[in-house]
């Protein structure tokens, strides 16, 4: 019985390694992906800590962004500010050093709720403004050729390239292929619906909301 259990555990571990390691395929560099720039300085490779000796963790503990970081992040990524951020700053955790003496970076219901509200306001405003801008000036899809505000006409490659661009813009990190394909599939459904209801701003606006409310935007 013990042997069977051990074999099962080993098999499971090997299966996990294979399933997690099977996606390391070299791929062509696409627009929006990160490329390393050689700065002439070659530091020694530092091995990461063994997660087994670190309670299953690697690196420092992730944190939620502070209100000041959120304010800057929204402005940097969309070019506009959420109108309520100062009104809700205390509720989102900003210390006033009178009543609250430390910045709260807890991820709780109130933060999640108001981040969602903020993302909706800012993203839909940005997407609406983008509809009337020429390609290079757009925030959410600067390199996309749009005909008659119809995003269902976009090719798969164009959608994926723009999603990759947005991932870098909002998160500072690229998509994995599988995740990008999944988001692209969602975008196609959303774009079709946006066309049906004649609200083209909701196509990339909805994706912007998804990027802004993703944990990769709200934590670091």
């Amino acid at each position: 019985m013990k042997t069977t259990t051990t074999t099962l555990v080993l098999f499971t571990a090997v299966f996990a390694l294979v399933s997690c390691s099977s996606k390391t395929v070299e791929k062509p560099v696409m627009e929006g992906t990160l490329e390393t720039v050689d700065m002439g300085h070659h530091p020694p490779t530092v091995k990461l800590a063994d997660p087994e000796q670190n309670a299953g963790h690697i690196g420092r503990k992730p944190r939620r962004i502070s209100v000041a970081q959120l304010r800057e992040s929204i402005l940097t990524t969309t070019g506009r500010q959420w109108s309520q951020i100062n009104n809700l700053a205390a509720t989102l955790g900003q210390a006033d050093y009178a009543l609250t003496v430390s910045e709260s970076t807890e991820v709780n219901l109130v933060f999640a709720k108001f981040l969602e509200d903020g993302a909706r306001e800012v993203c839909l405003a940005t997407a609406t403004a983008d509809l009337n801008k020429a390609a290079p000036d757009r925030v959410l899809y600067p390199d996309v050729t749009v005909t008659n505000r119809d995003f269902t006409m976009m090719s798969d490659d164009a959608i994926k390239a723009n999603l990759a661009y947005l991932a870098i813009r909002f998160w500072g990190q690229p998509f994995s292929d599988a995740e990008r394909d999944s988001w692209a599939s969602t975008f196609k459904t959303v774009a079709a619906r946006a066309k049906t209801i004649n609200k083209p701003e909701q196509a990339w606006g909805a994706m912007c909301i998804a990027f802004m409310t993703d944990p990769r935007f709200a934590t670091y």
Binding site: A13, F15, A16, L17, S19, C20, S21, K23, T24, T36, D38, M39, G40, H42, T45, L48, P51, E52, G56, H57, I58, K61, P62, R63, R64, A90, T91, G93, L99, T100, V101, S102, S104, T105, E106, V107, N108, L109, V110, F111, A112, K113, E116, D117, R120, E121, E179, S182, W183, T186, V190, R193, Q202, G205, A206, I209, A210, T213, P215, T219
Partner: protein
């Protein structure tokens, strides 16, 4: 460098993926995130809830919790007693009694302004003769709010509500979405995580912002796509990034948002309208509106459904009963700093708050708590003000600040139909009582807000060591 870096990146990625296999269970690629993210808990009321009701400005305790018999404390004896009840000055309004009230069966005498609150003598203790050590508004207020004497005027500890939530919230199975709600009142947090921070609202509208969907809506089909996308599988890297649970915590918070929004809790707090409410909700709200005497259209009047003492009491009841909050701190009544006002002004402003509290307690007495018994068996209410007003009336017809205070503690954890302590019969000086009995004792000790707060915390089974005083045995239920 490119090659070196690329190799390093590949090694790191491979290592992360391999490491994720060691990181724990259920992290295989392709398994739905939903499989190991906690399900959002359905909203359920906390087993022990707390209300901190504040009367701002410094109340006249002769009119509420520490009355005196005007036939004994007459104007002729002022030089001897230094106390003038002044109840005859309320005679312009015949609804005010001119003698202290003692409902049948009550061991507690009340002043003329307590209104319907006096009907609930059977579930409360009154503490008299508390030494506030201050006659400054912000100092006294913060002292009672935190149970610690401020440094200058700066609060020196967490609010009691924060302390309660800080200790109880991590152990709760059903975590309320807004555990600590502070309505038009300060709140402090000096040693707990953000989960214990109060959601500070200055009006019911602020609370509705949290409970209602945002003003910018997406098409419902697109909305559904976004929700579905959030439940998709995540990569090995993402799983490892979440090994300390922050992302899961965030996802849980978002699920909780969805639970709150789906429950359309905001409807229950919109006392001024039933438009669009389902029949059951409309009926429940109508019952609340009737119980608290709210009248739609009475803007700015005592029964204003949006911002009156009555509406605040209704808000407290709704927040606790719907499982939105565990602790609610609320500014119940104001306009009490009557240096130049009349006795009638003080009494009118107080009575709004007391009547609203009386209705709240009636509601708690009559409503069943989901875990058994009535709500009053599951809630503790502290009613306080920053200090009291002088026992003598000043030259302007008002009363100034007085250092001796009183408070009421209602519900779970304290003795019922009971008076702890007493103020002096000369100038209402701070009481000196026996520690165990609470009866006046010249060899006893003076008690402070610290003792009252420590008693409330001890009665709830919480750690009160931060108070650095022992609870009042003669007050504990």
């Amino acid at each position: 460098m490119s090659n070196h870096s690329g190799k390093s990146s590949l090694q790191r990625r491979t290592f992360l993926k391999a490491a994720s296999a060691f990181a724990g269970t259920s992290i295989f690629g392709g398994v739905s995130f939903k499989a190991f993210a906690q399900q959002a808990q359905a909203l359920a009321p906390a087993d022990h809830c707390f209300v901190f009701a504040y009367f701002s400005g410094g109340w006249d305790q002769l009119l509420n919790l520490d009355p005196r018999d005007p036939t004994e404390f007459t104007p002729e004896r002022i030089s001897e007693t230094r106390i003038l009840p002044g109840y005859s000055l309320l005679s312009q309004d015949p609804s005010y009694p001119t003698m202290p009230i003692r409902p049948q069966g009550s061991n507690i005498a009340f002043g003329p302004a307590v209104g319907r609150f006096a009907n609930h003598f059977d579930v409360m203790s009154v503490v008299r003769g508390i030494n506030m050590n201050t006659v400054a508004h912000e100092v006294g207020f913060r002292y009672f709010l935190t149970g610690k004497e401020p440094n200058g005027s700066a609060a020196r500890a967490s609010s009691t509500a924060t302390e309660v939530v800080g200790q109880l919230y991590p152990r709760m199975a059903n975590k309320p979405p807004v555990p600590n709600l502070a309505f038009n009142i300060e709140s402090y947090n000096d040693r707990y995580g953000g989960y214990a921070n109060a959601l500070r609202v200055s009006s019911a509208n602020d609370l509705l912002l949290t409970l209602a969907p945002g003003p910018t809506a997406l098409d419902s089909e697109i909305e559904k796509q976004l929700i579905d996308m959030r439940g998709q599988p995540v990569s090995c890297e993402a799983q490892l990034y979440d090994s300390r649970g922050l992302v899961t915590q965030y996802q849980d918070a978002r699920k909780q948002v969805r639970t709150v929004l789906d429950a359309t809790l905001d409807r229950y707090f919109r006392f001024d309208s039933t438009t669009g409410d389902p029949m059951a909700v409309a009926m429940e709200k109508s019952a609340t509106v009737a119980r608290y005497g709210l009248r739609v259209g009475n803007n700015g009047l005592p029964n204003d459904p949006r911002n009156s003492s009555a509406a605040r009491a209704a808000l407290v009841a709704t927040a606790l009963k719907k499982g939105v909050s565990q602790c609610v701190s609320i500014n119940m009544a104001g306009g009490l700093d009557t240096h130049f006002g009349t006795q009638l002004t003080q009494a009118n402003n107080q009575r709004q708050g007391w009547n609203a509290l009386g209705d709240l307690i009636s509601d708690f007495k009559e409503s069943d708590h989901p875990s058994g018994g009535k709500w009053i068996d599951h809630v503790t209410i502290l009613v306080f003000s920053e200090f009291s007003r002088t026992p003598l009336i000043n030259a302007a017809g008002g009363r100034d600040h007085h250092i001796t205070n009183s408070c009421a503690v209602v519900g779970k954890g304290v003795k019922h139909n009971h008076v702890f302590g007493a103020s002096g019969n000369v100038g209402m000086s701070a009481g000196v009582v026996n520690y165990d009995t609470g009866l006046p004792d010249p060899k006893g000790f003076q008690y402070l807000p610290d003792h009252v707060v420590a008693t409330i915390m001890a009665s709830a089974g919480l750690d009160y060591s931060i108070m650095r005083v022992e609870p009042l045995k003669g007050l504990q239920g």
